[in-house]
């Protein structure tokens, strides 16, 4: 006996997110690093900042920390985002 049933997933709401244009180089760029606020992000992002400045000659690194590591980034933290060339975000546990 054939059974007909319905799709339980969000199907039509699968948005097609498009990646931002890639940067050709990081020389002279401003890069923001957004931490989720957990303790271990500090040494990890310290190392990334050093790599960005030393190896990739990034002009400046903006370090930001979310208030709540389980919630989306607060809009006020992104108000300067138009001035940044790239954003790195990540978690630490």
């Amino acid at each position: 006996m054939t059974i007909r049933f319905l799709d339980p997933t969000h199907e039509a709401d699968s948005r097609a997110f498009v990646a931002a244009p890639r940067l050709a180089a990081l020389d002279g760029a401003t890069v923001a690093i957004i931490s989720n606020g957990k303790k271990s992000t500090k040494p990890f992002f310290d190392a990334i900042e050093a790599e960005l400045k030393g190896r990739y000659r990034v002009a400046s690194v903006v370090r930001l920390t979310k208030y709540n590591y389980s919630a989306p980034v607060e809009p006020e933290l992104l108000k300067e985002a138009a001035k940044w060339h790239a954003i790195i975000t990540g978690v630490g546990d």
Binding site: F5, T9, P72
Partner: protein, 347 residues
């Protein structure tokens, strides 16, 4: 009533199961095939159009429609009469203070505790007595599982996908109970949280696994609560020190002693609020001495306020067993209570 979900066919019941398992659309258990007829029956029971917007998950801005919720409820084993509870639970979970994304994605591995109050418990055959915290009855199990399957399929909260829990706990299969109002001397949980008398309601809480305790060696409320407080303090030291909503479950045998002494739920909350505290230095005795730092004397309380304790009457008639149900993440996620099928603040 036009349903908009894509439909599929399979040759038989077994083939339907394999179809769902192959796509990770279920939790490892078989599902009830969500046929159009079964989904329509759920929607008709709550008088909701298929595209009725139950809410929007704010992080991924994903719509939770009545149709999709009904499909997952049918899969979980819900009857139409169970569906209003599922709708109310999701309505509560989508309120901002609940922090749904964090609660379902966290390494901390909490589950959604659903506490049901009011006449709908009896109408659906929910039973808050024997085995109250696990598969006590058909409705409780199916409703809790419906919430979990909806998280799977509408928000991708599958292990290793959006669900990043290190361990999780068995409540992630289903974590729903009805308060045993008939055998309780107290106000129902929902009434204490502002729902008018006579309405049904759900309370949702991002919750860790229940920590069972036992004290059959006293009739004094203070001593009984000292056992609960000790368990809360252990949770603060071993899991998370941050204050938030805690739930405690009191069975009839213990409730008898509180009733005899004239203690209300408010009295219980006050006692626990006053006593459930630890100092940071106590971390040193459980292997966390490295984070005591220079705040050894700082006092941490389990509850931001006495009203943050959810006191639930549930359990079988014999046994001095209770449970502490700890919060996932202190004050960042708050328990939310909403009425079922009624708006209590619409003016």
């Amino acid at each position: 009533m036009n349903l908009s979900s894509k439909s599929y066919t399979a040759d038989d019941f077994a083939a339907v199961q394999e179809f769902f398992h192959a796509r990770k659309w279920t939790d490892g258990l078989p599902i009830v095939p969500p046929t159009e007829a079964a989904v329509r029956a759920c929607l008709e029971w709550v008088a909701m159009a298929p595209d009725h917007l139950v809410g929007i998950e704010p992080v991924r801005e994903r719509a939770i429609t009545a149709e999709k919720l009904a499909i997952n409820a049918v899969m979980a084993g819900c009857l139409p009469m169970h569906f209003p509870v599922v709708v109310a639970a999701f309505t509560a979970m989508l309120q901002e203070p609940f922090l749904l994304h964090g609660a379902t994605a966290s390494t901390g591995g909490c589950a959604i505790l659903i506490v049901v109050n009011g006449p709908i418990r009896d109408e659906t055959g929910m039973d808050g007595t024997f085995n109250a915290l696990a598969a006590s009855d058909r409705a409780s199990t199916a409703i809790g599982r419906a919430v979990r399957l909806t998280l799977y399929n509408l928000l991708d909260v599958r292990p290793g996908a959006a669900d990043r829990a290190t361990l999780g706990h068995p409540g992630k299969i289903s974590y729903c109970l009805a308060e045993d109002e008939a055998n309780s001397p107290w106000l129902p949980l929902c009434e204490e949280r502002g729902i008018p008398t006579g309405l049904s309601a759900v309370t949702v809480m991002a919750a860790g696994a229940p920590r069972q305790l036992m004290n059959e060696w006293t009739t004094r409320p203070e001593e009984i609560l000292d056992t609960f407080v000790a368990e809360i303090r252990a949770n603060m030291l071993n899991y998370s020190i941050w204050p938030g909503n805690y739930a405690i479950v009191l069975p009839p045998q213990l409730r008898t002693h509180f009733a005899a002494a004239g203690w209300s739920k408010a009295d219980i909350r006050r006692y626990v609020f006053d006593h459930a505290r630890v100092t940071r230095r106590e971390w040193a005795a459980c292997g966390k001495g490295s984070v005591v730092g220079d705040k050894a004397d700082k006092v941490y309380q389990a509850l931001p306020a006495a009203d943050d304790l959810l006191v639930i009457a549930a359990g079988g008639p014999a046994g001095g067993f209770g449970a502490v149900i700890p919060p996932w993440f202190g004050p960042k996620s708050r328990a939310v209570t909403v009425a079922i099928g009624a708006c209590v603040d619409c003016g």
